[in-house]
Symmetry: C2
Subunit: 104 residues, 2 copies
Amino acid sequence: MKNIFADIPGQLPEELFTTLLQHKNLKIERIVSRGHANADDQWYDQEHDEWVLLVQGEAILELAEQRQLIKLQAGDYLLIPTGCKHRVEWTRPEIDNIWLAIHF
Amino acid sequence: MKNIFADIPGQLPEELFTTLLQHKNLKIERIVSRGHANADDQWYDQEHDEWVLLVQGEAILELAEQRQLIKLQAGDYLLIPTGCKHRVEWTRPEIDNIWLAIHF
């Protein structure tokens, strides 16, 4: 049995991306951010939809066109549609903030 | 912002199924089980793959062909392939056991 809270290294110099399932156009991914964030000009601009659940921790996302900051608590989820430029503004330091991202 | 731990009624006479996202062949669903389980002869037999994450709580799944009981803790996830008959044998009473099910 695999666990989404397991297999996280003690040292995490960069965000950790782990593909949990890949099937045709579907990818289920775990992302662990331990205080990591994107640079001010580093945007994700994807050609597919992404549904994101913050399983654990706290984070702030920025959406480019809306010029909107979105604070996420554990359990919060949202759809990031194709072409919706976004970046991670902040994640809580010193804990493992765990995202589940469904790319489809 | 929607939250996977929110909008759970105080009374839960049956399991609660909530579609969080539906897009073509993809359905993202929350299931809340408060001690609920399937009857001994009540099997799910699906014509699509399902990826399941137990976000919160404890549960036991039964897989028919393998005659296998699988104990799940919070964070455990597994793939239930097309045609893999399964049922929920047990969920922890008096708490909200929360599943995230990705049907694809």
